[in-house]
């Protein structure tokens, strides 16, 4: 009950947020929601099923490029493009998952395999002329004053509300998944794969399902990325630092929890922006100093809150079951 009231309050605040803030804060809010959604997608694979992917930028990038390329070349809008993005990403995810799980690759080796595929794709896109190669792919900048829903072009609020809907949908989906049969099987696999297998769980099939769902969800965030930022460079979108950015929010917030990715995205973005503000206030604007502080805070959180911020917070608020 308490949980539901809090959730309603949270979404009411998020709904009126664009009406009361300036454009800068609106873009920060959009970024937070983007990170929350993408982190939720990653969480399905790692947090639920225990498969550590360090190459999720692959799905963001391929999803973004798939939808953007058919938009730029053939004028096909994102409502069709998103399905292409999902189809391609699911195919890639299923292929990687199939190879990895068939050959019994897990743990660190699986993580490195996902990095290898992401980096391989990055260099591939650098040399793919159809999508502009390393020079980048650019979408025509949107008319910011009118909403063109068919082509997903419009003012910043439109992007804010659409990513908010995605975050909410992902939350509902993940809540359902966790309580479904798949959710329990995944958690069994995450905790002890051999034991799960001994109980008769077809671990291969359920791990595949986790990869497929996660890559499909991440593909959608790639499409959002493409139409929100309007420019794509392989060097940026596939880079390992992008994958790290994706997984920071759920890890800081709490791996495997529903609210961890959202809370983590809020904490990290607010932290990063307030460090910038504080340093500007004290006049310490040396390049790199902000990231050093960011790194130190990250280090402290991971040292002292091994399960992330959400689980202890939920206990404090009396929300834990």
């Amino acid at each position: 009950m308490k949980q539901k009231v809090l959730l309603l309050v949270l979404f009411a605040v998020l709904l009126i947020f664009p009406k009361v803030v300036n454009p800068y804060l609106l873009s920060v809010g959009t970024l937070i929601l983007y990170l929350a959604y993408t982190g939720q997608a990653w969480n399905v694979m790692m947090g639920f099923a225990g498969q550590l992917s360090l190459g999720h930028s692959l799905y963001v990038g391929v999803g973004a490029y798939a939808a953007a390329a058919i938009f730029v070349h053939y004028g096909i809008g994102p409502w069709a493009g998103v399905w292409l993005a999902i189809a391609v990403c699911v195919a890639i995810g299923a292929a990687i998952g199939f190879l990895a799980f068939r050959f019994g690759i897990s743990g660190v080796y699986f993580a490195l395999l996902t990095i290898a595929f992401a980096e391989f794709t990055r260099i591939g896109f650098d040399h793919l002329n159809w999508t502009g190669g390393s020079g980048g792919l650019f979408l025509k900048v949107a008319q910011r004053d009118q909403i063109d829903l068919a082509n997903f072009r419009g003012p910043p609020e439109m992007y804010y509300y659409s990513i908010l809907i995605l975050v909410f949908a992902a939350l509902v989906l993940c809540n359902y998944l966790l309580k479904s049969k798949a959710g329990y099987y995944w958690q069994a696999i995450r905790e002890n794969e051999e034991a799960a297998q001994a109980l008769g769980i077809n671990t291969f099939r359920w791990k595949m399902l986790a990869v497929v769902i996660s890559s499909a969800m991440t593909a959608v965030s790639g499409v959002f990325f493409a139409f929100y930022y309007n420019n794509l460079f392989p060097e940026q979108i596939f880079h390992i630092s992008r994958s790290i950015e994706i997984i920071l929010a759920p890890i800081i917030g709490g791996v495997g929890t529903l609210f961890g990715p959202i809370l983590g995205a809020v904490v990290l973005t607010v932290l990063s922006d307030s460090i910038t503000e504080l340093l500007a206030y004290f006049g310490w604007e040396i390049p790199g100093i902000k990231q050093v502080f960011y790194g130190i805070v990250l280090l402290l959180v991971i040292m002292f809150l091994p399960h992330g911020i959400w689980p202890p917070l939920a206990r404090k608020l009396g929300l834990a079951k």
């Binding site: 660190v108 290898a116 890890i251 390049p287 050093v292 130190i296 990250l298 280090l299 991971i302």
Partner: protein, 289 residues
Amino acid sequence: MPLDLVVNVTIAGVLTGMVYGLMALGLSVIFGVVRVVNFAHGEMMTIAMYAAVSLFAAFQLDPFLAAIPVAAGFFVLGYLLQAGLINPFITRPEHSQFMLMVAVAIIMVNGMLIAFGPDARNVQIAYQLESWEIGKILLDKPRVYAALMAAATSAALFLFFKLSLTGKAIRACADNHLGALVVGLNVKHLYALTFGLGAACVAVAGCMMILFLDVTPSLGPSYTLLAFIIVIVGGLGSLTGALLGGVLIGLSEALAGLFIQPSAKSMFCYGLLILVLLFRPQGLLGKKS
């Protein structure tokens, strides 16, 4: 394509590969014993490169001599890093260890950005461009010295693990953590020692790399990935495997740069990594677990 060009590029690739091998050896030793993947490995090498640059700027110290104090400093830093930060994470899940090393890497990269600025630095030694000519074959002096230094450092590490009592104790920890605890080995101290040794390897490699490569603060991540590729190809935890992998990658990078587009050369490396992971995940020389 003239044959002597191919031969010269091959030799340069193998010699650079020896230095790559030493760098990866550090990663392999740390993973093989401590079972933590050092995601800040390339960043550590970058710091060693800056240390060599600074020593050269301040005292005109040749990087081959600078390697000794830099390695000693890295040994101490590595020991402290393991003892202070990483040891408590030994029993934590992999993503937790990964985040820890990512945080360390972020601090390292940006610490260097603050200290040295974003511009590329290098070292100009007197014999930088000297070479030996044997017929049409050219041997760059710095490359040959660097490869010899890498071979000597690796040999010293091998002998340490093979012959010394401490080396044997570290191997015991790697083989059986619980068993090592039971017979009363100070595992945490040995882990820290191992991390120190791995750091010293990467320090020597960094001092050699500065002869072929300009250093910038953002160089780290790509060399972390390169070190991974090498140790996976050679076999995580296998010492000879790391050296072999280094030579293989150095060679294939050089030849790929010659025969296909230079910018596509690392795609070849990642392709190789994917194949090895799928068909021989224990690496070319690794033992099956």
